[in-house]
């Protein structure tokens, strides 16, 4: 290209490759985590601080099972083995979460503890879960993606379109976006249309009346943990396939996840998903270096010499935090009119 021409198509391709696709897949991963937090909050009435580490736990199981399968040669070419073992990993994660509920949360429900007490106990569960994961897998980062890495690579894209700026579509991104969409659709269908899903909403709405209608509270709690286990394991596995697995990274995911939930409106499932994409896009849009993007769009005389990066990537967690503070100051009920946490 001649350096003084304005090239909108290449600029858009650049943005798609480095901002839109990564933010869509990161947003999908956050959305699943945020949906899990929302379900726990709605049904069990506490903010689950162990969510990030539970995702690490689910991913740990996926990694162990993936290693086992590859060791035996039980793989299907082209498909990440992790994908095949997710259903089994969900079963293990369900068992773990149900055990934690039986050992810890059930006691606090029984004595009708204040919500803040249960939140504190979930912080305990968070440390224990994080500890288990580090004990089993170690604290170092690892990759567990196998199979075909790209739906199409930068080179293939360039060859096909003839554009200077390529777009790579990673398998992990494709899987993340597709699976997250299907899973969210399933959860909404379940909550809106099935008898058990409606009972869960009823239980979340008015516990005493649910009891009077013959809805079994223990069953509602169990089903919630099963859904949470599925969301948690899949979110963790997809995040790991996309960015690699590191226990500390998962632990820190709690902040963007909580930011998503609060931005969307606490207790609102649709809000959690919208919030997740808002947080994901904010993080990536604010930390992206726009130099090359502007070079495509501006005449030569106006080309920037700096990176044009608003905030360094090392500050990406600060973005979630700032969003959190702004929402709580200006609109504590969030975008979708959720609840404001009060201790009942």
């Amino acid at each position: 290209m001649t350096s003084d021409s304005i090239d909108i198509i290449n600029a858009f391709a650049l943005l798609t490759n480095f901002v839109i696709l990564p933010a869509l897949s990161y947003g999908s991963q956050l959305a699943l985590g945020a949906l899990a937090v929302t379900l726990v909050y709605s049904v069990l009435r506490f903010s689950n601080f162990a969510q990030g580490d539970s995702m690490a736990f689910g991913t740990m199981i996926v990694i162990l099972l993936t290693g086992f399968m590859i060791g035996r040669g039980w793989t299907i070419s082209g498909i990440p083995t992790a994908l095949l073992v997710i259903p089994i990993a969900i079963v293990f994660t369900s068992m773990y979460l149900l055990t934690m509920d039986r050992l810890i949360y059930r006691h606090y429900r029984k004595i009708k503890a204040k919500s803040i007490t249960i939140v504190m106990s979930s912080i305990g569960v968070m440390f224990v879960t994080g500890g288990i994961v580090r004990f089993v897998l170690g604290a170092t980062a690892q990759k567990f993606e196998d199979g075909e890495r790209f739906i199409f690579s930068v080179r293939e894209f360039k060859a096909y379109t003839g554009l200077e700026q390529g777009i790579a579509f990673k398998t992990s991104q494709f899987l993340t976006i597709t699976i997250a969409f299907l899973l969210v659709a399933f959860v909404f269908y379940f909550l809106q249309k099935t008898k058990t899903g409606k009972a869960m909403r009823a239980y979340s709405d008015n516990k005493e009346l649910a009891l009077l209608s013959g809805i079994d509270p223990d069953k509602m709690v169990q089903i919630t943990w099963l859904l949470v286990a599925a969301l948690t394991t899949i979110a963790g596995a997809l995040y790991g396939l996309d960015k690699g697995f590191a226990p500390q990274q998962y632990h820190l995911l709690l902040l963007p996840i909580f930011a998503s939930v609060i931005v969307g409106g606490i207790g609102s499932p649709i809000g959690a998903i919208a919030g997740a994409f808002l947080v994901a896009f904010s993080e990536i849009l604010l930390t992206y270096a726009y130099k090359k993007f502007l070079i495509y769009l501006l005449p030569l005389s106006m080309h920037p010499s700096s990176l044009v990066q608003l905030i360094g990537t090392e500050y990406k967690y600060a973005i979630s935090f700032v969003i959190l503070v702004i929402v709580l100051l200006i609109k504590p009920t969030g975008l979708f009119k959720g609840k404001v946490i009060v201790d009942e």
């Binding site: 409606k198 008015n206 009077l212 209608s213």
Partner: protein, 234 residues
């Protein structure tokens, strides 16, 4: 032996004793009313009958069977239904979903019963897709009634059904209650509006400090000078 009987019920909240050997009973096709001053334990009687609060002693008999040991849910499936005073609907669910949840424990087709509820409260049919929290107070009360009727109960317990509604709505609610009774159900209700409630009641209980102070037909109680002076304002 009456259809539903609470015999010599003793209950307390923690260490605070509420009921002292209190007894109530109601027959099918009969409307019994519990009246009395605030803190007399009126609502507590209901909670004990429903198994939401455990009685220290005394028994609850349904159709001759002792149901004192059953859980609330089991009592519901044995034909008891309850409309609480407040928080008696699922606010973020539609009218229709509220009714569906009322019929949650039923294994058979509940659509027939939903139609019956709509026939009794036609306004609910028009509002069936609306969220319960968007309805007026009187309409919400109808949703609460409808929800309780979904189990096809043989006995309805109502906790102050007319609390906080206008006089016109109150008349409407009382006439709804009489419809329910005339359909053959046993109805036991706690009421603040003692005069009006005793007027339509077949049987009344005046409760004071957790004890049966007066018992009789609605008419007897209204004509009892002591009851008139103390509880009906002369």
């Amino acid at each position: 032996m009456a259809y539903l009987e609470g015999k010599n019920l003793v209950a307390s909240y923690g260490v605070v004793p509420i009921l002292h050997e209190c007894s109530v009973e109601v027959e099918k096709g009969e409307l019994a009313v519990i009246v009395g001053p605030n803190g007399a334990g009126k609502s507590t009687v209901m909670r004990v009958l429903l198994g939401m609060l455990e009685a220290t002693s005394g028994s609850v008999m349904l159709d001759g069977k002792d149901i004192s040991m059953l859980s609330t849910q089991d009592r519901i499936s044995h034909g008891l239904a309850f409309v609480p005073q407040t928080k008696n609907v699922f606010p973020s669910m539609t009218v229709e979903e509220n009714l569906q949840m009322g019929g949650f424990i039923r294994q058979d087709d509940i659509n027939q019963t939903i139609e019956e509820v709509y026939a009794l409260f036609p306004i609910l049919y028009d509002k069936r897709k609306q969220l319960a929290e968007q309805l007026s107070g009187g309409q919400r009360q109808q949703v609460a009634f409808g929800r309780a009727m979904m189990t096809k109960p043989s006995i309805m317990l109502l906790d102050e059904p007319t609390a906080g509604v206008s006089p016109i709505v109150m008349d409407e609610i009382f006439s709804n209650i009489l419809d329910v009774r005339n359909a053959g159900m046993a109805v036991l209700m706690v009421e603040q509006n003692a005069q009006q409630a005793l007027n339509i009641a077949d049987k009344g209980y005046v409760l004071v400090s957790g004890r049966n102070e007066h018992t009789g037909t609605g008419k007897e109680l209204i004509n009892n000078p002591e009851v008139r002076k103390k509880f009906l304002g002369g």
